[in-house]
Symmetry: C2
């Protein structure tokens, strides 16, 4: 397997073997180890000393079910922490098939040109981007690049936000239908790509094969066992397929943990209008697809294609997080309007979570009133045009809160808090506070035992046992993020011992190893340790492993709860 | 002496004795100890848990020469560090005469009203501010409040920036002619005052006397000795009086350390046009005053009154820092235009250093071109009106740099770097990096030995001995800031042993003590230790005690120097 370094200062590509230290690493293990090793933690995120790394998971490029997740790593402009931003779409499988375990972008070119990186079986080339690409959103960029490089290539691109180097800029990854609907969204890595003047990367796997396997039969057996465990689980085998992740709208609303009106309350009167069930009804009524795989080999199909009222394509990958962020969080109960916002985010290339949380704070600041859907759409035009207000909004929640003097700013390590109120889902509150990523639900998705009764049951309203829950999940998640498996396999892993067995068996059969479940745990700890080491050097301390004070001071209705997990207990997390 | 707590939530005033722990404290010793003791370091700076404290120095309220400096303390919105922001003007002497050693503002009121705090010999009252004051700049606020409360009262106020809770908002303190020309500028404490809904504080010392002295004769003798030392020194006795602090323009330009074009080079071709010498010529030509005392009892008179070309008053207290920040830093070589900018800053209530550095970064970001003086004045109107761009600019350098994706952002701990390039004046570079205040020249003014040959001589271009120089000055400065003495007495202190003796003798004669010079050093260390303890809890580490990487990477002309003081050596600072 190969390790590629693209130097944008001298416009040179170096393709070598994977360094010895990273031989056993894929995905987040690769990105976090590499960034920790090679990037000075106090560097400017948009300066020449930051690096951007793309890494498929260990199982990517095989027929392992749902193994097509891509890890993108760097020093994050939004959080100034180390960052692994994880995306679906078709890039990871193709990079792996091309034999690429890691692709690193280094340094910054002189001059104003943007570039396109072309990766195919013949190697990696740096081309000057056509001028007509500049200033375009991801949808148009995709259309033009497919016309040039072929309909089947994968496109990894930035929209206007990445060009503007906005702190909430994402990196788009095209899905199975070529649409820029999957994103390495969190942390602003799109701005890093923009700072390195890369408008897009073309990944063309024509002429490649699936990765060779040390023991094909054993792999096939393990893979089937894994599929079975996933498909038998009610969440990954049924709920996600039928309603997408938006199935969570009603569940969280019922639990009183659906953040509403910029985290003022935990229940939204009209949640039903933006629920997964309503979305599915609309999709069925208008055409589109209720279930859709973001990458080949995904067996869960949580994605969907959402058409507008005229039956025309509007957006894909319409997630719970997005629907929550612009929905209850902004008191907008109109799925069509929210779908337009999702489309804007995908096109401009900004993180939907960050933008929704930002809009909530913009409403708290009276830039526009709560519920003003036309106002939000207007503000997206500002972002797209790069007006002063648009630049500000595109830099996310924390900076908008600062600039408008807002005190209720829901962030941790300057990153917007996702769709579970930490007072009513305390396990995920611990994750927000303590993960090296900044507020991130996926880093330790305690919603499982807190709300979904997956992997046990822990009262979400009480402080007890939340730290252990979050810690165990953070370790397991880091390991899963190294494999290229979609995090949603975790539902099966948590409830069915055969799922983890199958993952280990697939890795062993692919690489001719004899790993055990304990090795997976150790890998997870090693990843978190590397990330924490980086953050320590960047100046993060336990003072940053905290939720904003309003979560400790304001009671959340309907349950009247505050966040009360002790700081002492939280300070034990990720110290191995 | 009294200690006043004003609670803005219940609109109540508590006047008690100075707490035992603070009996020996004034000025910065009082503010930093109090904030370290009572404010949670991770609190939101604009939230109810932050506190704002005003403290005159230990010698304020006596006839000690130049002893009228006011310390204002809080958790700073700009830096998120502890902050002592030091101002001249007439407040400190009057607070001391009123017997007030510390005046604390706590909590935040409900509702939209702003308030005026009235402090006089009868006590402290909270009054609802007249509606007509809201939205006004400091000049008009002063006019209206003097009309209501009397021509002789001191006014401590915020302009529009403080009302908007902008991170660069200052607190204005009226000078000897009632003008809002002196500011607690750095760190955004005006936003804290705004968050607590206080538009102004009236300080009326009618009916009070100078503070009693334990040994009036000894005090008089010491005071004379101190005056002599100050007046005999060429800087404090002559240069400052004749040219103001702007005497430094030519000196720093000659030294190649005058930051020009957002710290791109160290020499400005047309520096002469904005020099102290030119300013003095203009003042003489147009009327105004070449020398002016910002508070009664100042014997140095570094302030001045600057009239426009028509001979009408334009601004006062026209400092080197201001002239540099908007001048060479923005490539504007027009003193009249810069004076208008100074006037805007005083009126809107924003820190001139932060705003000049911000404008430099705005130019680097192409918001306006370098040299565009009309553009800067237009942007000040944006700030005054609170447009989105104005709000952004009013929050300072770091946030403008982030929002526009700029990599050359001259800040430390999010505070703009002042008027000495750290590559060419390395001792002050150490101070910028290591003071608990964020980039601040006054915290350890190594320009003395580096450039002015005061207190010895250390090559400014070499890394050697800069850490010790900065450390010694940081300790001495913290102690001076506790006395209420103007920092400019330090020139005499550094060159003439009798000056420090005289300070100790004045303190002993006032309080009936028997302090020695060593006690002064210990006081300085204790202050820095309290400040560092706060910052540690707020999450600051040695990673934050760093200059931006471009100072290590770009050579500064004309000397071709980089900042090369070792991180290991800097990490020894303020660890006692």
């Amino acid at each position: 397997m190969k390790f590629v370094r693209v130097n944008m200062s001298i416009l040179d590509v170096n393709i070598g073997d994977v360094p010895q230290a990273y031989q056993a690493f894929g995905g987040r293990a690769m990105t976090s180890s590499f960034i920790n090793d090679e990037v000075k933690a106090t560097a400017h995120p948009l300066g020449k000393n930051n690096k951007l790394i793309f890494a498929p998971g260990l199982l990517s490029g095989t027929r392992a079910p749902s193994s097509g997740r891509l890890s993108v790593g760097g020093l994050a402009p939004l959080t100034k922490t180390i960052k692994e931003s994880n995306a679906g779409g078709t890039a990871a499988q193709k990079l792996a098939k091309l034999g690429i375990r890691g692709l690193v972008i280094e340094d910054i070119p002189a001059g104003d040109d943007f570039y396109v990186i072309v990766v195919n079986k013949d190697g990696v080339k740096i081309e000057v981007a056509d001028k007509e690409l500049i200033g375009l959103g991801n949808y148009e960029v995709g259309d033009k690049l497919r016309a040039k490089y072929g309909e089947k290539v994968t496109i990894v691109s930035i929209g206007q936000a990445g060009e503007f180097r906005m702190s909430a800029a994402s990196i788009a990854v095209s899905d199975t239908e070529g649409r820029p609907a999957r994103h390495a969204g969190r942390g602003g890595l799109g701005a890093v790509m923009g700072s390195k003047k890369i408008k897009a990367m073309i990944i063309d796997d024509a002429g490649t094969e699936e990765l060779p396997l040390a023991d094909p039969e054993a792999f096939k057996t393990a893979s089937k066992k894994f599929s079975k465990a996933i498909l038998e689980h009610p969440v990954s085998g049924e709920a996600l397929r039928n309603y997408g992740t938006a199935v969570l709208v009603n569940i969280l609303n019922e639990a009183g943990g659906l953040p509403t009106r910029n985290f003022a309350t935990g229940r939204y009167d009209t949640a039903q209008k933006i629920s997964g069930e309503t979305m599915t009804d609309l999709i069925k009524e208008r055409g589109g697809k209720v279930s859709h795989a973001c990458h080949p080999g995904c067996i869960m199909g949580c994605s969907q294609i959402f058409n507008n009222a005229k039956g025309e394509y509007l957006t894909a990958g319409f997630e719970y997080e997005t629907i929550w962020a612009f929905g209850s969080n902004c008191e907008i109960d109109d799925l069509d309007a929210i779908a337009e916002m999702d489309r804007y985010c995908d096109d401009i290339g900004v993180d939907t979570i960050e933008m929704g949380v930002t809009m909530g704070v913009a409403m708290e600041a009276n830039i526009i009133p709560f519920g003003d859907k036309e106002g939000v759409l207007r503000l997206f035009e500002d972002i797209k045009q790069g007006t002063p207000l648009g630049r500000l909004l595109g830099c996310g929640t924390e900076v908008v809160g600062q600039v408008y003097g807002v005190t209720r700013v829901p962030t941790v390590k300057r990153q917007g808090i996702p769709a579970y109120d930490p007072r009513a889902v305390k396990g995920v509150g611990v994750t927000y506070a303590t993960t090296p990523m900044g507020a991130d639900h996926t880093a330790g998705y305690s919603v499982t035992a807190n709300i979904l009764k997956v992997g046990g049951e822990i009262d979400p309203l009480k402080a007890d046992n939340q730290v252990k829950l979050s810690q165990d999940l953070q370790i397991a998640t880091a390991a899963v993020d190294a494999t290229g498996l979609c995090l949603f396999v975790a539902f099966a892993v948590l409830d069915n011992a055969s799922a983890l067995e199958a993952i280990v068996e697939m890795l062993n059969a692919q690489y001719g190893l004899s790993l055990t479940g304990d090795d997976v745990t150790e890998l997870g700890k090693a990843i978190l340790t590397a990330e924490k080491a980086f953050n320590d050097r960047a100046g993060f301390t336990k003072a940053h492993d905290r939720l904003p004070e309003f979560f400790q001071e304001e009671e959340l209705l309907p349950h009247g709860v505050k966040f009360d997990v002790s700081e002492e207990e939280m300070d034990t997390v990720n110290r191995f």
